[in-house]
């Protein structure tokens, strides 16, 4: 099983690579550099120049990651005794397929007139921008779910998980609930980030840490120039500012949640090294994320910084999933001697 776990870890690392490649596409504005899909300019190897380099690399990384996930699922199906783990592997395959399809639709809805017509009629909108944004956000969000699934598979196939040894003092309900809330907050935060990115609202609040020089942006009195070259309506600007500001508030909420979860671990579970390492790692990632988020604004969305911000956010979410799993695993162990019964009840068994 160690080889299987190694492969699961490789797959999880590949999903991080996939998110980095996707973030590079968005950050360089290369999403439409290859107008066809699934082929690229009618073939597998278009000239790798400019935006094509980013977009086609993303497709290649996606292909390799998808293949790894499919192989992992096949391996699990053949060798894994726990049905829920087998199904988790299969679920990852289905999600990554849906993810690929959404990526393709995101491209084709801009370039394929027939599909565009169908999508516009289905959505009841008059132009492609809202549909493109919807596909982009769904594509980005599903990528995070793929990452969560691969992180989970790498965790539950690990020797430590399988050995089931732990000397932890009681995992409090507060910690377990905190871990759940943390995942929800992290996912919501990444969704807001994706929405902000694809709405083009990344720099709509131009300063940091203040917003238009205030703690809360003046939503009723936003600086909107009606004579700008591409003027937007006040309500559109307001929505963009709201999404951007919500992302900032979300960052604060995530930081508080990470502290809320890390504190009881450092205080009560110092002997549980895996939890301590995870909590310390998440604190470090959160601090780095705040600095990176600020640097995105200060650098006017420098590509490397923006990509790093997206990647760190994804790893933070994945770490949250791992932490959540371990809090469940350790609390199931505590339930001994009725351990086996508890595992059956929670579904979190060996």
């Amino acid at each position: 099983m160690e080889r299987l776990n190694g492969f699961a870890l490789l797959t999880a690392a590949a999903t991080v690579g996939l998110i980095v490649a996707g973030a590079a596409v968005t950050s360089t504005g290369s999403g439409d550099a290859v107008p066809d899909w699934p082929l690229s300019y009618g073939g597998f190897f278009p000239p790798m120049v400019g935006g094509v380099l980013y977009e086609h690399t993303h497709r290649l990384v996606a292909g390799v990651t998808g293949l790894l996930i499919a192989l992992l699922a096949f391996w699990l199906w053949r060798r894994e005794s726990r049905p829920w783990v087998r199904w988790l592997g299969l679920g990852a395959v289905l999600v990554v397929l849906a993810q690929a399809l959404l990526g393709g639709l995101r491209v084709l809805v801009v370039s394929d007139e027939t599909l565009q017509e169908v999508a516009l009629n289905a959505a009841g909108v008059s132009h492609v921008t809202p549909v493109r944004i919807a596909f982009s956000v769904a594509h980005a969000s599903l990528a995070q779910i793929v990452l969560c699934l691969t992180f989970a598979l790498a965790t539950v196939t690990s020797p430590r998980w399988l050995s089931g040894t732990g000397s932890s003092r009681g995992i409090s309900n507060r910690l377990k609930s905190g871990a759940t809330v943390l995942i929800v907050l992290l996912f919501g935060q990444l969704l807001l980030g994706a929405l902000m990115r694809h709405l083009g609202a990344g720099l709509v609040i131009p300063d940091f840490p203040l917003s238009f020089g205030r703690l809360v942006p003046p939503l009723a009195d936003l600086p909107n120039d009606p004579n700008a070259p591409f003027a937007i309506a006040d309500e559109e600007l307001r929505l963009k500012v709201l999404v951007h500001f919500a992302h900032r508030v979300g960052a604060l909420a995530v930081a508080v949640a990470v502290l809320f979860v890390a504190w009881p671990i450092f205080r009560n579970h110092r002997d549980e090294r895996r939890l301590v390492k995870l909590a310390a790692g998440m604190l470090g990632l959160t601090a780095a994320q705040v600095v990176l988020g600020a640097s995105v604004i200060w650098s006017q969305k420098a590509v490397a910084i923006t990509v790093a911000h997206v990647a760190f956010g994804a790893v933070l979410l994945g770490s949250g999933v791992v932490l959540w799993l371990w809090t469940r695993r350790l609390s199931a162990e505590e339930a001994r001697p009725s351990f086996a019964f508890a595992l059956r009840q929670t579904g979190v068994s060996r």
Binding site: P35, N121, S126, H127, A134, N227, P229, F230, L239
Partner: protein, 258 residues
Amino acid sequence: MKNSHLALFVAALLLIAAGCAKKEPEAEKAPAAEEVAAPKIDEATAATITGKVHFEGTAPEMKKVEMPTEAVCHTKTQQEPVHTETVIVNDDKTLRNVFVYVKEGLQQKLPAPKEVVVFDQRSCWYHPHVVGIQVGQPFKILNSDVGVLHNIHAVSEKRNGFNFGMPGKEGIAVTREFRAPEVMVRIKCDVHSWMGAYVGVLDHPYHSVTGPDGTFQLKTLPPGQYVIEAWHERYGTATQNVTVGPKETKEISFTFKG
């Protein structure tokens, strides 16, 4: 539709999920060129609005464009440097690449002219940088960069968007039409991020782009009251109300401040 664009996004998310189907708003549909009435320009009474677009202040320095990712074009720019065309101030302090057009006041729609508007991709650069066109008028896109792959992506908030690849084959050309009035449609190449241009799409022929002398001319206008708008990609828009009588030529000017 710009005003409701983000609200529609939320609706789009919900409606796509539900698989609902709704008709697009009729107002967004562009009239086909064949459907509009025949031209009724009375040459005997036609008026002209002419003028200049001035620039005040210090002209920003336009950056030299580097094309490191495309060897063919990179070599050319080493021989003949290219600078961004965002702000070009002429020697007489007039401003180039300003799109001037009749925004309001026309009482009749005019059919699209047959005259082809040519838009070329040459040395990884768009020619022209700003151009006007009428709904339904042929827009002929060339790729003069033999051996260079471009994609040509029209970014629109109406139904004017398209995106397709144009490999650099000798003599390649694609002709498209725009469907709805829109000032402006942005054209970009996602392969070469430095390439950008603007197309002003109207349902009439009264438009002009300022050149090396900063002048514009709107000819054969029916007498009447008009709102004339000048659009610039950096400095935005400015409008003026102008009334012209039969056979009258009125001179106006716009000033953008840097």
